[in-house]
Symmetry: C4
Subunit: 195 residues, 4 copies
């Protein structure tokens, strides 16, 4: 800890740069989602009669947009509270964080798949897997940074850390369980996520 205290403003600014890059990836991934909702192509004479139905038929896209926006927002909130106590960083934290960002930046693809073929089981399973892995990586970052209070500024309450780690495992388990449920009803799974 003394070494940390010595180069504290330096390390703090470096840590900020990691957070800034992560926020950039979050912001872009969340905003790219809208590119998947394409304006329907309707011949000039039939716009008035066909546009309402065409827009309504895009509902899986809207649902995917709202769902993934909510998921990435939740990831951001968790990432935010995990990084709050972190003061130091090392190569391991950098690699784990990049691995996590790789899944955040990937979310638009399974979302697009879900919006296109959401009534089939495979896209639902892929989507659930991608989010479960992303959430597990967040839990890994949390576990890595709080283990022996290595990278955090002040000792953390072990009971509280354990509580968060267990909660961090709950969401992936729910997502993976939902793959099993999706063998019976795909619609039920997606609506349960939204709720």
């Amino acid at each position: 800890m003394t070494e940390a205290a010595e180069r504290s403003p330096e390390a703090g600014r470096d840590r900020d740069r990691i957070v800034n890059l992560s926020d950039g990836v979050f912001a872009i991934a969340i905003t790219l989602l809208v590119l998947d909702i394409r304006v329907p192509d309707i011949p000039e004479g039939m716009v008035a009669s066909e546009l309402p139905a065409a827009l309504l038929s895009l509902w899986p896209k809207y649902l995917g947009y709202v769902l993934s926006f909510a998921v990435i927002s939740t990831f951001w909130i968790v990432h935010h509270s995990i990084f709050r106590p972190i003061r130091e960083y090392d190569r391991g934290l950098l690699y784990l964080n990049f691995l996590f960002l790789m899944f955040v930046a990937f979310v638009p693809f399974p979302t697009s798949l879900l919006g296109e073929y959401g009534d089939h089981q495979l896209p639902v399973a892929i989507y659930a897997c991608a989010l479960a892995i992303g959430r597990l990586l967040l839990t890994a970052i949390h576990w890595y940074s709080t283990r022996d209070d290595r990278l955090v500024g002040e000792p953390q309450d072990p009971g509280e850390v354990r509580f968060y780690l267990i909660r961090g495992l709950a969401m992936p388990v729910i997502f993976l369980l939902s793959i099993g449920v999706s063998f019976f009803s795909v619609g039920a799974v997606i609506w349960s996520w939204v709720v």
Copy 2:
């Protein structure tokens, strides 16, 4: 306030991260608008004769670009002045802000719809609704953060807050009223927004 004062630099930096993420979403949403203006596809031999007309016929796209750029800029200016006095934050503020960002990031879609089918009434109504909801969410953030001076650094003048809340309701009302007008003249509505 004492609790706030105790963890003040901490809370200030966390608040900055919320603002940074929001600015990222603003910057990307505002820049993605240009992707909707596509270069016209003209056979090689006819470029010189047909390009001027083809570029002119894109005017609804240019209009949509300028309009949405102005709207998102205005949202940013209001967001900016609402967050200036905020020192603390809680889950409620985070959720409201993400809900608002969901509408900011969504703006490219109704803009694209307006650029494609702007002479019809439905796209105008959807565009007006999206902006009215976005503006209402900004007002909700303002109301939420200044209620009982909970999240702001220093007590706000109640008269001033009420003035801003009322002004914050005016724009959505105008947008929603314009939907009614659009039953008579779609062009009039869009030009009134630009002005």
Copy 3:
């Protein structure tokens, strides 16, 4: 200045938020340029024989990428040195800056037009106009913020300010003159920009 001194850290942070948003728009506009270079579509059996020629024929796209990257970088450097002494801001500065960003974010469209129809005169003229207006807006921001030393932290040397204003008018003039030249030779104009 006394009012400025009183709320100085506050105003400094607000100014930083304007700079951050601008940097976001710069970073995105500069990175979107690459989306215009599309991978050529070649039937499976003929890739080995046709890919080299197909990639070479994309050279106007590469040229447009390098040219616009250089232009936006130059805009960033000028924006950077204009905002360095600025300490205060007002509505006028916000509006001028957003108007400028509207042209920065627009650059991918004329670039794309140039990459597609660069051997014609109209795209060259549009490109030159867009950049000239962008550069003029930067000069307007400079003039607006240094007039009577209103928004800058300390009095500026009037001779130096005048020198920069004149230099800021030179580039638009060159770009606009190049439109005249383009009546004679389109290629010469583009190569002169690169140089």
Copy 4:
């Protein structure tokens, strides 16, 4: 150094703005990579039977995504450790940094090319060249900023600097050597990069 010390907070903030812009470009380039993985287009009745194979056949795209994500992450980590000691900046550093960013922002194109025609030699050579040049520019930034300790806050250990410069030349050499290898086996080259 005295001049540096005099305008130190100023220069520090300016340096931060360069770093912020760079991080923005990194974040966007890394997130745009996903746009290259397109949802396959399958007729409604055959989704259940054909989707698994269609998704599997996208594996060169997934590989390209992971590879380029890893490369840009590595570039970021190196950029990060090169800029850490930098306190001052000049035009030369700005230009070198923009030249480097031009290659970072360009990475999505060779990645896309690799994902489409990865079993041919030319895309592999182009990809290797782009990365080798990017890495060389990073080394140039390092050499430029540490030469005579000009732009760094405190004198650097010459032995350490030399060690990093040599290491900075190793990766480009490996990439360029791999072009030679690719004459024999394209697959071997790509898998060696991943490892």
